[in-house]
């Protein structure tokens, strides 16, 4: 079982690294927003893997907090921040 968890963690790490590349390279703010969204979900996966590996169910509360944070931050950036030069 631990092998599966390590493989899952490695794949999530690769996904996070690729998302960071898009985050740095993204030409527009919207690309970065999409990349951050994806990064939040990869982090959620990381928390799930960590909670399963450590057999600590209490850590799963973090998922709700992070999901809410990811959603609210993207919405607030879109509402107030993004002014692309037309």
């Amino acid at each position: 079982m631990t092998a599966v968890l390590t493989i899952t963690a490695a794949l999530l790490f690769v996904a996070a690294a690729l998302t960071l590349i898009r985050l740095l390279r993204g030409p527009t703010t919207h690309d970065r927003l999409v990349a951050l969204d994806l990064l939040v979900v990869v982090l959620l996966g990381g928390i799930i893997v960590e909670a399963v590996a450590r057999d600590a169910g209490a850590h799963l509360i973090l998922l709700v907090v992070l999901a809410l944070l990811g959603f609210l931050s993207t919405v607030s950036v879109l509402r107030f921040g993004v002014e692309e030069p037309r």
Binding site: T8, V14, A15, T19, T28, V64, R86
Partner: protein
């Protein structure tokens, strides 16, 4: 490995493979709208797969927490995608669409001027 663990590992592995696929899609797709496609796939399905694996392995309380997050993501992912897509469309990002009905509607409705924004 019992049957439950095998099922959980299949779910976990498919969830993380989907994460890598979405990240690769994010890199290779040309403009914001198509990258949005790759990102929102992961938001709900990725969590369902990974959460399902965790729920199988954990207790009923864990399964409840995972279900809560999955329902929350299922509710907010479409909203996020719509918001980002609309903002990208209004900022005219990405190569021009072959046929763009929304542009006519946006220009007609006077939404273009952002005087209402207090920013």
């Amino acid at each position: 490995m019992s049957a439950v663990e095998i099922a959980a590992s299949v779910l976990l592995l498919s969830g993380s493979l989907l994460a890598v696929l979405a990240a690769v899609g994010l890199l290779r797709l040309p403009d914001v709208a198509s990258r949005l496609q790759a990102a929102t796939k992961l938001q709900v399905l990725g969590l369902v797969l990974l959460g399902g694996g965790a729920a199988l392995l954990g207790t009923a309380a864990d399964a409840l927490k995972v279900l809560l997050v999955v329902l929350f993501q299922a509710a907010t992912a479409p909203v996020l995608a719509q918001l980002v897509g609309r903002a990208a469309h209004r900022a005219r990002i990405g190569d021009a669409l072959v046929r763009d009905d929304l542009q006519a509607a946006v220009e007609g409705s006077g939404l273009e001027d952002r005087s209402d924004r207090d920013g």
